[in-house]
């Protein structure tokens, strides 16, 4: 951050430099412009039991069996949680702006060590209740030990105007397996700034899915590092955005070792004035021969004023690899629409069917059927709300 720009009020309060448009990775999401008021950290907020219960119940996974850890306004609520914090230390060192902010402001987070195989999904639920505008920062460290496997859901839900800063650090040991699902449903008045770092050991497998449908401004930065050979990583995501929502996902797939494969599929739906951004980078280092990497992002624009920007990047230093990327953007296919209507399906229903089908393709990465069904139910509810708003 060596560009000289005068400090904003928010920065003076934060005591940190905010990323801005002159930084290449942040060109679409200028936090200096977007953060219009100070969001003081470390604020003590009292939440009513009813508010907490309502938010807990509003999780798409509320009815699903599993173990939960619930964080209310940045602090673990033992009353709502079946799991306790374990002793796993952070290893992250990076100058990523969201991480810097998190280092200064994080109050709590899930620290989990997974050994053995758990069939039951673990849901980490992060809630922000209605209160004064503030920063709520959490830092999770999840270690899946050698040969262990787990399904972990991260759900972010809130009400009111706040800035959620979420860092998740994941380490997979040799032959470990993680199915990770993140669902971001923050208030449309809120910010969601996230950083995820995943390191993968030899022969490990990652299935990662993120649904982005909340927050006025969402910025998610993820890095997946391949530290061993024979790793299989699938990273998918879906945007379901409307109003004036802004979501910027930056994903770096970092192939450091040979014989690994990576698949990325992002399906982004934008309505009204929403704007989606996908910056996907696949890096294949010199040593990472026989890498098989594919990335694709597809956008569906439901209004004339919706926007999507894609910045796919391949940076390949090895000479024996198969890598590719593709990005498309468009509106609903008129032939598909006519076909459904010619069978008697009303136009609005036909559109909803097609949108659900489009976005649903990204859900396929999720292995657990109950989670996939919960995601499909969320997507249908989103489409119903969209139609009612018309």
């Amino acid at each position: 951050m060596n560009v000289l720009v005068p400090k904003t009020l928010a920065e003076t309060v934060f005591g940190l430099a905010l990323p801005h448009r002159k930084m290449e990775d942040w060109r679409w999401t200028d936090l200096r412009q977007l953060i219009d008021k100070p969001y003081p950290p470390h604020q003590k907020v009292t939440a009513s039991a009813q508010d907490i219960d309502r938010l807990v119940k509003s999780s798409p996974f509320a009815k699903m069996a599993g173990a939960r850890m619930v964080f209310v306004n940045g602090h673990l609520s033992p009353r709502h949680s079946q799991l306790a914090r374990e002793n796993v230390a952070t290893r992250l060192g990076s100058d990523e702006p969201v991480l810097q902010m998190n280092r200064a402001f994080a109050t709590d987070g899930a620290h989990l060590k997974i050994s053995g195989t758990t069939d039951m999904p673990i849901e980490l639920l992060f809630l922000a209740t209605r209160a004064e505008a503030r920063t709520v920062a959490t830092h999770n460290v999840i270690e899946v030990e050698q040969g262990a496997s787990a399904t972990i859901i991260e759900t972010h839900i809130g009400e009111g105007s706040y800035l959620a800063n979420s860092v998740t650090e994941i380490r997979l040991g040799e032959a470990a397996r993680l199915d990770r699902v993140k669902v971001e449903l923050e208030d449309e008045d809120a910010f969601h700034l996230a950083h995820a770092n995943v390191t993968l050991g030899s022969s490990s497998a990652l299935n990662d899915f993120t649904l982005t449908s909340g927050a006025g401004v969402n910025r998610q930065n993820s890095t997946v590092e391949f530290h061993g050979q024979n790793i299989d990583a699938k990273v998918s995501g879906a945007f379901m955005l409307g109003g004036k929502q802004h979501a910027d996902t930056r994903l770096v797939i970092d192939h450091q070792q040979p014989h690994c494969s990576s698949r990325e599929l992002f399906k982004c739906v934008m309505d009204n004035h929403a704007r989606g951004i996908f910056q996907g980078k696949v890096m294949v280092r010199k040593h990472a021969q026989k890498t098989d990497g594919k990335q694709s992002s597809h956008a569906l624009l439901l209004s004339e004023t919706a926007e999507f920007d894609a910045k796919p990047e391949l940076e390949i230093f090895a000479d024996d690899v198969v890598c590719g990327h593709g990005a498309t953007s468009g509106d609903l296919n008129h032939d598909h629409l006519f076909y459904l209507m010619s069978r008697g399906i009303p136009e609005a229903d036909a559109k909803s069917l097609l949108i659900a089908a489009f976005v649903g393709e990204a859900f396929d990465v999720v292995v657990n059927e109950n989670i996939r069904e919960a995601l499909a139910a969320f997507s249908n509810a989103w489409l119903t709300r969209r139609r009612r708003a018309r």
Partner: protein, 251 residues
């Protein structure tokens, strides 16, 4: 049932006129074959009747069951019993065939003020019809037409027709891309649906299909007009002589 009078149609985005004064009357129980060379307007006619966007009716009228068909949306036409079996059925990834059939049937029933069919009843109803067309449960689970062979796609179209039970069936080049066995299965499916209160318009380039689906009337379409009508013997005549005689007919 259907009365097309002096129909003129052009593409919305181009000046080119495709249907140029077409007249046709189809009564309940009748099967009409429309034959003609490529570019004579056969497929356009099927799209205009089923309500596809992109065409502009500049003159004439289409009356269906005493109502102005052209004023209705594609959805409403389907609910009123118009069905188009596509020449090239559309592949729609992510929408399972079974789910699609259920939504379509229940949408139509709802539009007609009928009770929606329950899931168990519907499953039975579809499986019965699917079995007759050699369509197994596996095909019904797959996305609409995705990964279907040419023959499977055409059988799936006929299954939709059997499920939706339309009054006016328009079959657009249903024989194209079918080998003789597949053609027989499809034709049997169509013949099963022949009934005194249902009419069919069979659009085809070749006489071959008409050996299996025997029409009551045959019309020759050329340059957007019907230039000759007759009984099924006209189809044999066309097969023997070709369309050369009609190439300049409407000019």
């Amino acid at each position: 049932m259907l009365e097309i009078k002096n129909l003129h149609v052009k593409l919305t985005k181009e000046e080119r006129v495709i249907i140029n004064g077409l007249n046709l009357t189809v009564n309940a129980g009748e099967v009409h074959a429309i034959m003609g060379p490529n570019g004579s307007g056969k497929s356009t006619l099927s799209y205009v009747l089923s309500g596809r966007e992109g065409y502009e009716v500049t003159a004439g009228s289409v009356t269906y069951k005493d109502e102005d068909l052209l004023a209705k949306s594609a959805t409403d036409r389907a609910a009123k019993g118009v069905f188009l079996a596509f020449q090239y059925p559309i592949e729609i990834p992510g929408v399972a065939t079974m789910q699609f059939l259920k939504v379509a049937l229940n949408s139509q029933r709802k539009a007609r003020g009928e009770k929606e069919m329950s899931t168990p009843d519907f499953m039975r109803y579809v499986k019965e019809r699917a079995a007759k067309l050699n369509i197994g449960p596996d095909m019904l689970k797959r996305s609409i037409n995705v990964g279907f062979s040419g023959g499977e796609k055409k059988r799936a179209e006929i299954l939709q027709m059997a499920v939706l039970e339309p009054s006016l069936c328009i079959l657009d080049e249903t024989d194209s891309g079918l080998d003789i066995d597949a053609l027989r299965v499809v034709a049997d499916g169509v013949n099963t649906l022949r009934s005194p209160d249902r009419a069919m318009i069979v659009i085809t380039h070749y006489q071959r299909l008409l050996d299996y689906i025997v029409p009551d009337f045959v019309h020759v379409l050329s340059k957007g007009q019907i230039v000759k009508s007759g009984d099924k013997s006209l189809a044999f005549e066309l097969e023997a002589k070709g369309y050369a005689e009609y190439a300049g007919a409407a000019a």
